[in-house]
């Protein structure tokens, strides 16, 4: 038998029970847990870690459920850590957050683990950061961390998550409440959830007014205020778009200084905006990995709906991936360029569940024409397909990008 033997091999191979038991070992600070953490170290740093915090009843769990649904629809594997308070009297806890994630907890791309805070203050459990590492090392694309209902001092999430959402329900209190220190200061974005309630607009206005009082911050660096209705999913796609754009700018590790929104200028920001507006890219679950002038890298996890009649990824899906990388690369100068000719060679077949990454590089560029080369590879580096493409450069500015610099 060649079954994987070490815990790390089993965890990396997708064994959920091995992962769950490793989390227990880490929670209990055992030597086994420490050994597994050490062995997973080479695999860390891939997952996007997003913290979701806010007062009790803000709708954090329901928002996490809605966000998980959106991320899974984009082809991502998602892990959730839900931290609940332990009783200071008995030490016991009812771990109920995942009850509100019932819709997604049965999905095979989703792993949810409840953690009891066990008397630890700060909004998380003592070992939550280590559990995040395990889930990152296990290969999840996203790790969402939901804190206990947080007030003004439970800010530990700032050290654990690269992207921090503070959920503010409407009608919590007067505007003085919003000026107070604490969780409001660690937000990378505010989410006014339950935005269908009458007070939502007022809450949004008060948050914006509070942010405007911040010293030493350029307007574009202020955290955005997004509105969602988690129970219906309204606004959740926009939240996921914002996260994807931010992830591109601030992958990991968690930046030491919070309050940095994605920059509004430069080719990387431009391409992040373009792919976020691209309905077809969203449909296929494409993600921008890297971007610069004349180059773009886009990845995709092969999903069941990409599979053709002989159980391999459809060539059209692979072309779509490469074509999206090309489209972003050739439009990175801010003017419209369109593909007029392309040739593609396929090297190997691809199965469902594998991640493909397409990188587009510019070979030449003149006033009217650009020539690009794309390579599509699997995670293990094997070349799946290679393409060349010629684009016609119209010289017209990109629609909805009036502020972008002059066309080169």
């Amino acid at each position: 038998m060649n079954a994987p033997v070490t815990p790390v091999e089993r965890i990396r191979g997708g064994d959920r029970r091995a992962l769950a038991r490793a989390i227990t070992a880490v929670e209990n600070a055992t030597q086994e847990g420490a050994a597994i953490r050490a062995a997973l170290a080479p695999y860390l740093g891939r997952a996007q870690v997003t913290g979701v915090t806010g007062p009790p009843g803000a709708g954090k769990s329901t928002l996490v459920n809605a966000l998980v649904k959106e991320l899974v629809a984009r082809g991502r594997k998602v892990a959730v850590i839900a931290v609940d308070p332990s009783s200071p009297v008995s030490g016991g806890a009812v771990l109920g957050d995942r009850v509100r994630m019932a819709e997604m907890q049965g999905h095979e791309a989703v792993f949810i683990r409840s953690l009891a805070a066990r008397g630890h203050l700060g909004g998380l459990s003592r070992t939550a950061a280590q559990v995040v590492e395990l889930l990152d090392g296990a290969g999840f694309d996203d790790v969402l961390v939901e804190t206990v209902g947080a007030g003004q001092s439970e800010v530990e999430i700032a050290k654990v998550a690269a992207h921090r959402l503070v959920v503010c329900p409407p009608g919590l209190g007067d505007d003085v409440q919003a000026i107070k220190a604490g969780i409001l200061e660690i937000a990378d974005a505010f989410v006014v959830n339950k935005a269908d309630l009458p007070d939502a607009t007022r809450t949004e206005r008060e948050l914006r007014a509070m942010l405007a009082l911040r010293q030493n911050a350029a307007p574009e660096a202020l955290p955005p205020v997004l509105k969602t209705v988690a129970t219906t999913g309204d606004g959740v796609a926009a939240l996921a778009d914002w996260l994807a754009a931010r992830a591109l700018q601030h992958g990991r590790p968690a930046p030491a200084v919070p309050h940095t929104a994605p920059p509004a200028s430069g080719p990387a920001a431009l391409l992040a905006r373009l792919i976020a507006r691209d309905a077809y890219a969203r449909h296929l679950g494409l993600e921008l990995v890297e971007a610069g002038e004349g180059t773009a890298t886009v990845s995709m996890r092969v999903r069941p709906e990409h599979i053709n009649f002989w159980d391999s990824c459809h060539g059209g899906a692979i072309f779509s991936l490469a074509d999206t990388a090309l489209g972003l690369a050739c439009n990175s100068y801010g003017s419209v360029a369109a593909l007029i000719d392309s040739h593609m060679t396929f090297s190997v077949a691809v199965k469902a569940g594998e991640r493909l990454t397409a990188r587009a590089e510019e070979i030449s560029r003149s006033r009217k024409l650009g020539v690009y080369r794309m390579e599509v590879r699997r995670d293990d580096g094997v070349l799946v397909a290679s393409l060349t493409g010629t684009v016609y450069r119209t010289g017209k500015p990109l629609p909805n990008e009036a502020s972008t610099g002059p066309a080169a």
């Binding site: 029970r17 490793a22 209990n28 008995s90 030490g91 771990l95 995942r98 683990r113």
Partner: protein
């Protein structure tokens, strides 16, 4: 010395019966007894309970039954074994006629509790079964 976590217990109901007062009372008692309780609403599917037990690394699953849903528990036991979770201890509480109790115990259920049982007795059983499971798993990670 490593910190030992409290028992982690899933309190759930499978099947179509929605009478969840009993499971709520037991969940609250086990919490107050210092345990970490994952409580689910009624109407859980067996596959969902298995996934829950896997991800939470539960020591014990408590199934509450009023209206014959305990007859689904043998299927739950099969599903747990198929998922490699034979170490997870299962207890059943509620209206269970004597002949069904035998059926459940033969299917691998650790304990069956009937109406009128002292809550402290359930908590003590959960502690004992947790110890059993953990010594069974010692060094197998």
């Amino acid at each position: 010395m490593a910190e030992r976590r409290p028992p982690k217990v899933i309190v759930t109901k499978i099947g179509f019966d929605g009478h969840d007062r009993g499971s709520r009372v037991v969940a609250a008692y086990l919490r107050d007894a210092g345990m970490e309780v994952v409580y689910t609403p009624p109407w859980q599917e067996i596959g969902a309970v298995v996934k829950l037990a896997t991800e939470e690394d539960a020591d014990v699953i408590g199934v509450s039954s009023l209206a014959t849903d305990h007859l689904l528990v043998p299927k739950l036991m099969d599903a747990l074994r198929a998922a490699g979770l034979e170490d997870v201890q299962v207890i059943v509480g509620g209206i269970v006629p004597p002949k069904d109790e035998r059926l459940l115990l033969e299917a691998g259920v650790a304990r069956v509790f009937h109406p009128g049982v002292a809550l402290g007795e359930i908590a003590e059983a959960v502690r004992m079964l947790t110890r059993d499971r953990r010594s069974l798993l010692e060094g197998t990670l």
